[in-house]
């Protein structure tokens, strides 16, 4: 069963030219935030939508959470049509955005009780649920403090708690760790991972390759409003090319090592500056053993030697031709 299905979504924004920092040029132009985007998410799994700023991730989340009507295309969430029955969709989703969408002047407890009341829970049930969530997200000590005194990580956790008042079938997390420090990010990952086991379907957007790698069952790489690649982290890495054998040696040994490596794999790449000889290999560890043996026989002691699997950064670079998150807005 697919919990989320998006087909050929298109959303075009008219930008009136006076976008941030664009200076004097007043040129009306269209931005195709979604340009025929299609994807689906299997029930109970985590799909990470990975892409740089401006790739259309947030617009996708807005369409799927009924905040925005697409110009064309269709989408269902938990089997319900997003465009035709937005009210039904709202009953089964949770949304946690890029910023903590809570009332900062109120306390964490106030906020959760308010959201529970808006979910039509009774007064006492609302308070009980608020306490439960504060406990679950380790915010009990801060429950009676205004949100504005919270750290970034605490705000995100409270925001996430607010989207879980009634257990959603599908939870949308729009860049849940953007702007958090490494510790806050680790904490947030822990929280998200614990939710994954509860059977909720996740669609989470991120600019961080590491985050997608950590949290997602599957990754959809998005660029310029389209999905340009889709698969598990391993599949995507394989798509870019399998493992590479990398050997770093003293300068004088480079020709000899090139000779050895070329016997294992024909496409040898030499980086003189890094004194690195590398080549793609089909049979990972076997190639490594061969190389070690040949080097030993030749009496060459490498400075570094190993098999390198491509990172998601490599994946992104080879798919889009530019580095993730480098697109300056």
């Amino acid at each position: 069963m697919k919990s989320v299905i998006a087909r050929d979504l298109v959303k075009v924004y008219k930008v009136s030219g006076r976008k941030r920092g664009s200076g004097a040029t007043v040129v009306p132009k269209e931005v195709r935030a979604l340009d025929g985007l299609s994807l689906d998410v299997e029930e109970g799994t985590v799909l990470s939508v990975l892409g740089p700023n401006g790739a259309g991730k947030t617009t996708l989340v807005r369409v799927l959470t009924t905040l925005l009507t697409p110009d064309s295309g269709e989408a269902t969430v938990a089997g319900v049509d997003v465009i035709k029955h937005p009210d039904e969709v709202r009953k089964v989703i949770g949304l946690s955005g890029q910023y903590a969408a809570v009332d900062e002047t109120l306390t964490g407890w106030d906020n959760l009780v308010m959201f529970a009341r808006l979910h039509r829970m009774s007064g006492s049930a609302s308070q009980a649920r608020a306490n439960e969530l504060l406990e679950q997200f380790s915010l009990t000590d801060a429950a009676r403090r205004p949100i504005k005194t919270y750290s970034g990580g605490m705000r995100r956790r409270l925001d996430l708690a607010a989207s879980l008042i009634v257990k959603p079938k599908v939870l949308f997390l729009d860049e849940p760790t953007t702007g958090l420090d490494p510790r806050g990010r680790q904490e947030m990952w822990g929280v998200i991972n614990s939710l994954v086991d509860s059977g909720v379907t996740f669609l989470l957007t991120t600019q961080y390759l590491e985050e997608a790698d950590q949290l997602a069952d599957e990754i959809a790489v998005v660029d310029h409003g389209k999905v340009i690649a889709r698969g598990t982290s391993d599949q995507l890495k394989r798509e870019v090319g399998g493992e590479r054998l990398e050997i770093v040696v003293e300068h004088q040994h480079i020709p000899a090592v090139r000779e050895i490596v070329s016997r294992i794999s024909p496409n040898v790449v030499i980086d003189e500056d890094l004194r690195r000889i590398s080549a793609p290999v089909a049979t990972g560890t076997k190639a490594l053993m061969e190389a070690v043996k040949a080097l030993d026989d030749a009496g060459i002691h490498p400075l570094d030697l190993g098999l390198k699997r491509p990172s998601l950064d490599d994946v992104f670079l080879s798919l889009t031709g530019h580095v993730a998150a480098s697109e300056e807005k």
């Binding site: 807005r62 959470t65 009924t66 905040l67 925005l68 009210d87 709202r90 009953k91 989703i93 949304l95 955005g97 890029q98 910023y99 903590a100 969408a101 809570v102 009332d103 900062e104 002047t105 109120l106 306390t107 106030d110 308010m114 959201f115 009341r117 808006l118 979910h119 039509r120 205004p146 607010a162 989207s163």
Partner: protein, 265 residues
């Protein structure tokens, strides 16, 4: 039923804000009280009421009440713009709640804040010599009328707040619209002293009509200049009601529509 429940929850949120940051309430009452003192003691001595035997303060207080509740919409606009910036409106819109609850609750909450503000101002007025001469029922009616006016005006704020999306812009937008309306009126000085052309504007100004209605309810007679025979001059209470209905007929649907389609960016 659900719409009412949701609106009340949103309204309660605003009242909670007042408890959590009482400074807001304190400052929103200090400013009008300063106006009372300023006009009563600084300008008041030089302004003629045009009515023999009536002190300026009797004329002034209804004017300041109206000005204060008219500015309710500043809080509404700024508050909604902030909710927009913070993404809170997005969250509400992604929840299965009534489509009108967030804006209705907001307008109700701001209306409720006026209860406190008017109470403080009424006391301040009493201290500086304001003595309404009508019956207690009529006086209470006057205050109820003011609350209704604040509620009606706050819908303009809803539309401004949801449209400009930035709190600081909302603040200036409100100031630019409401400030001229309250000063180009009979609130602080009789319109009879104004140039003729301005009199037409000032006397048809809903703020003037509202002030005239309050003065009537607080037991004063009104003096109008060029438009003395017009409906606002003859029937200020009725006309104020019509203005309020007109305001709501225009701004409530526009605001609810705006809310349904608004996203933070």
């Amino acid at each position: 039923m659900n719409a009412i429940n949701d609106s009340l929850v949103i309204m309660k949120r605003q009242l909670l804000q007042l408890i959590r940051i009482p400074e807001v309430l304190i400052f929103s009452t200090i400013q009008p009280v300063m106006f009372v003192l300023l006009f009563r003691y600084v300008f008041g001595g030089s302004i003629s009421t045009g009515i023999p035997g009536v002190d300026y303060v009797q004329l002034l207080m209804p004017g300041i009440f109206v000005q204060t509740v008219a500015f309710t919409l500043a809080g509404t606009a700024v508050g909604l713009a902030q909710d927009m910036e913070k993404g809170l409106i997005d969250r509400f819109r992604s929840m299965p709640i009534s489509r009108s609850a967030v804006v209705v609750g907001r307008a109700l909450g701001d209306g409720a804040l006026n209860v406190v503000v008017l109470l403080v101002m009424g006391l301040a007025g009493f201290v500086v010599g304001w003595r309404p001469s009508s019956s207690i029922l009529s006086i209470l009616g006057g205050f109820a009328f003011l609350l209704l006016f604040g509620f009606a005006m706050s819908w303009i704020g809803v539309l401004i707040g949801l449209s400009v999306r930035e709190a600081r812009v909302a603040n200036s937008a409100v100031f630019l619209t409401v400030f001229p309306l309250t000063f180009l009126s009979n609130a602080f000085a009789p319109t009879t002293g104004m140039p003729k052309a301005l009199q037409y504007f000032a006397e048809w100004n809903p703020v003037s009509t509202m002030v005239a209605a309050c003065r009537e309810l607080f037991g004063l007679t009104n003096i109008f200049g060029v438009t003395a025979d017009s409906l606002p001059a003859q029937q200020p209470i009725l006309m104020s009601f019509l203005y309020m209905i007109l305001l709501m007929v225009i701004f409530v649907p526009l605001s609810v529509r705006k809310y349904k389609s608004s996203t933070s960016r």
